[in-house]
């Protein structure tokens, strides 16, 4: 019940509080003033590219605006906690250590070979 306030209004509020004109913000962010204006009054919705550009000039953390825009779900940075989420597992430290001594191209090649082997295995399994 707190936010009947749009992203555009937030941006405008922040800009005038800085204080900056559309022109000045435009110069710093490399986004046309007209576009910024339309965004502020809700006629356009800012893309991620634009959000990224205007974040710093407006004094926002990068991910802050993303969250406000609904691109990121709320609770940035919060608790980097170990995510039991995906990866049925984590990377074995030994494996990590060995691989990280190889050049990037080799690392990628390893993945390529792995996926080949997997597809071969799959075709044989059936």
């Amino acid at each position: 019940m707190s936010a009947e306030i749009s992203l555009g209004e937030i941006i405008r509020q922040q800009r005038v509080t800085m204080p900056l004109t559309l022109q000045e913000l435009s110069d710093q962010a490399c986004v046309s003033p007209s576009h910024l204006g339309r965004i502020e009054r809700g006629e356009r919705f800012p893309s991620a590219r634009i959000l990224r550009k205007i974040a710093k000039p407006l004094g926002f953390e990068e991910d802050e605006l993303f969250t406000l825009a609904g691109y990121l779900s709320p609770q940035p940075g919060s608790i980097s906690e170990a995510q039991p989420g995906y990866s049925g597992g984590c990377l074995d430290p030994y494996v990590s250590r060995v691989l990280s001594q190889e050049p990037i191209e080799v690392q990628h090649a390893v993945i390529g070979i792995l996926s080949m082997l997997k597809s071969i295995a799959k075709s044989m399994a059936k």
Copy 2:
């Protein structure tokens, strides 16, 4: 010099590894299969809205894809990679995430294969 590998390739690699078809991912993410296909082969660049939708189904942390897409600047503590220590050589994050989805035995097998290949290469070089 870390990534001459594109976002699309990463996404496809991840999808195939899950494993999912374009259709299935489409169903889970509510993005048309054709669009997903074009993204994977680099014909379209995914918007933030799309990235957000496909992140979870693919097992990505939300901000991870944003970072890969260049929407967010790198740094989220992220990457399941093993934590302390071997900052010496760096393991490509992409490689890390693909490998960490394999069971430990497979991870070790990969290292085994790698060392075989290296010794073969060495013997041929001489």
